[in-house]
Symmetry: C2
Subunit: 150 residues, 2 copies
């Protein structure tokens, strides 16, 4: 694959933070953080990682690819579950070490492997110092036991 | 400080992913990723890290505190710039290694040190294989040269 992205060390801080060169900062393991948000609502759906190949494939196909750290391999999101993500827009932040993906969540509309629309389906609630999690009102969209059975 | 958060290793996968115990996963450097989004619009504003102290202070004061990796110290967001963040709601994801903060951005409404509302003010645009960044239409809200001058 030709080198399509600039090298971050080749840019000044001003160029990196305000310029037009895309120079994504991959960490020492070759990964960059990617946040997927629903394009229509901005709701954050999930957080995952991309390597250079996943990023290039996502830009070229318009279908979101990540890198699975647990499986140590390219991960076409939704390949097993059907919950693919169509890329509507990609953004990066000031220091170019995070990507923000505006996506249309396909399939049943559940980005999370638990069957929920968003991985962030629980609120952190602190009452008099006691902290616990409270599920929001949205019901799961699929039963992971059914979808991921082998 | 009393231990207010559960230890992740004490929970089963089912408890961690679907339960009510808050057991944030701090990485080997003691940090957890935190995404700040504008509560009113869901727009992602910035990504930073919290250590245990920053997380506790955020929950206790309702004002967002992070941990600055570059300065290696607790970081009350907006202390220098005035761009503080009021916590409206906190969420965590299925495996509890990311926090999502719904905030009201105070000050001039700019979460980014570049003076922009969001750190994600540039789109990644791919045209026939050439990838570049394009600024969105929102103007900066302050001049960082003025705000951060010493």
């Amino acid at each position: 694959m030709a080198e399509r992205f600039k090298t971050p060390s080749g840019l000044s801080t001003e160029q990196r933070e305000n310029g037009t060169d895309f120079a994504p900062v991959f960490d020492e393991t070759g990964l960059i953080l990617a946040i997927a948000a629903e394009a229509a609502s901005n709701e954050v759906l999930m957080v995952a990682y991309m390597n250079k190949e996943a990023l290039a494939l996502t830009l070229d196909t318009g279908i979101v690819h990540y890198y699975s750290r647990s499986r140590r391999s390219l991960w076409k999101k939704g390949e097993t579950s059907g919950e693919t993500q169509k890329l509507i827009e990609m953004r990066t932040d000031c220091d170019q070490d995070v990507l923000l993906l505006k996506v249309e969540q396909m399939g049943r509309g559940a980005a999370c492997h638990t069957g929920n629309k968003s991985c962030f389906f629980r609120k952190v609630v602190s009452k008099k110092g006691d902290v616990s999690l409270v599920r929001d009102a949205n019901p799961p969209l699929f039963d992971p036991g059914e979808v991921y059975k082998s």
